[in-house]
């Protein structure tokens, strides 16, 4: 059961990519992937929130386990994630107002990104220790960013091509995601 940190990282990044293999965080994946220059900062912001949330969730899980209050886990995780997002928002507003405006509504929506809650829940379910949990959340965030950037690049190129009207919109994005997901299946077994 004890996976090395490297295996966890590769698994979360490629073989079990959060978006393309585990279907976590699809809303921002379909919503923000229109342009490359917003997709990348969005990925970074989400990764940061994931790291903070994973760190807090780890400490909180110890505390709740100690007090035998496991049934409060879900509620406290979601409150922690909401606070972490608020923190990122305030920091970003102070130090990078341009980026803050570019991300707009999608920044607060990180709260309802299932990838973030997914990290916290999975690391609890798999009983990762501290190093494993941090690697897992970093790998997950990097994988999310990778998927977002790939998708955005494909969609930018696609604007130049002649697509039938009927397919335009979400149907097209889903088909693209399917093909990307298909290619990511080639990484299966890489993490050992």
């Amino acid at each position: 059961m004890s996976e090395t940190a490297f295996q966890i990282f590769v698994n979360a990044l490629l073989a079990n990519n959060f978006v393309l293999a585990m279907f976590l965080g699809l809303c921002p994946f379909l919503g923000v992937s229109g342009r490359l220059d917003t997709a990348f900062p969005m990925g970074l912001a989400t990764t940061f929130v994931m790291l903070v949330a994973s760190l807090c969730a780890f400490g909180l899980n110890l505390l709740l386990g100690h007090l035998h209050l496991e049934f409060l886990r879900l509620i406290s995780y979601i409150v922690i994630i909401a606070s972490a997002v608020q923190l990122v928002e305030m920091v970003m507003k102070k130090y990078s107002p341009v980026l803050f405006r570019a991300l707009g509504i999608y920044l607060p929506l990180i709260t309802t990104n299932c990838a973030v809650l997914g990290v916290a829940l999975f690391q609890t379910a798999r009983e990762y220790d501290f190093v494993q949990a941090m690697t897992f959340s970093f790998g997950g965030g990097a994988g999310f960013t990778l998927a977002l950037v790939l998708m955005a690049s494909v969609r930018e190129r696609l604007q130049l091509s002649n697509v039938p009207d009927v397919v335009q919109g979400t149907a097209l994005s889903l088909m693209l995601a399917g093909i990307l997901s298909l290619s990511f299946m080639g990484f299966a077994g890489l993490g050992g």
Binding site: L26, N113, L172, G178, M185
Partner: protein
């Protein structure tokens, strides 16, 4: 008088099933939609679980709409939703452990399903409990129908079964990709394609 109320209630109910279907029209709640629809049974139970959370949270949000301060309303909604999700989580664990393992973390991830928060914010916070419960029930059924239409297609093509019953006999060669992640994207994409083609055809017919 009563017929007018009934007609309005019926309208509220049908909104989620047809006009504003959360899966096919609004494209909300994608993560559970794609992740758990590998079989019809999973899809159905996920739909029922989500509907339960949706109806209960909408009722409570609606009851508390006059005492909830505007600034902290999202936090209040999310705590209400998380409470009901915890209830469902423990209930499913008690009813069927196999189902609990099959759905995995996606039961707890109902918390971040945008359909529920969206309904709480857009409908339950402005309407009386009965109306918002009717609306939530419609939405829940619409979501379940969406999940089922994916789950059925993926199970038939990917495993050759429907609700666990074999359809084609022993010689069927399953189309495995359909129960793997890419299949989810492809099937939902095809459904959306079908709907947009149908809508377009109707539009063209109207113009002629």
């Amino acid at each position: 008088m009563t017929t007018a109320v009934q007609a309005r209630n019926f309208d509220e109910f049908m909104e989620g099933i047809w006009r504003q279907n959360p899966v096919f029209i609004m494209v909300l709640g994608m993560c559970p939609t794609l992740a758990v629809t590998v079989s019809a049974v999973n899809a159905l139970s996920m739909g029922v679980a989500t509907s339960f959370v949706l109806i209960c949270s909408c009722a409570l949000v609606s009851l508390m709409r006059n005492v909830t301060p505007k600034e902290v309303r999202i936090a209040v909604y999310i705590v209400i939703i998380a409470t009901f999700v915890t209830v469902v989580d423990y209930a499913i664990q008690a009813i069927s452990l196999a189902l609990y393992d099959a759905l995995g973390a996606f039961i707890q991830l109902i918390v971040v399903n945008c359909i529920i928060l969206g309904r709480a914010e857009a409908h339950a916070a402005k309407n009386p409990p009965i109306t918002s419960m009717i609306n939530a029930a419609g939405m829940g059924i619409g979501f379940t129908i969406g999940l089922l239409s994916l789950g059925v297609v993926r199970e038939i093509l990917g495993a050759g079964t429907l609700f666990g019953v074999s359809l084609f006999g022993a010689n069927f060669q399953p189309w495995v990709i359909m129960v793997l992640p890419p299949g989810g994207f492809f099937v939902l994409g095809s459904w959306l394609l079908l709907f947009s083609w149908w809508a377009r055809r109707k539009e063209v017919a109207k113009n002629v």
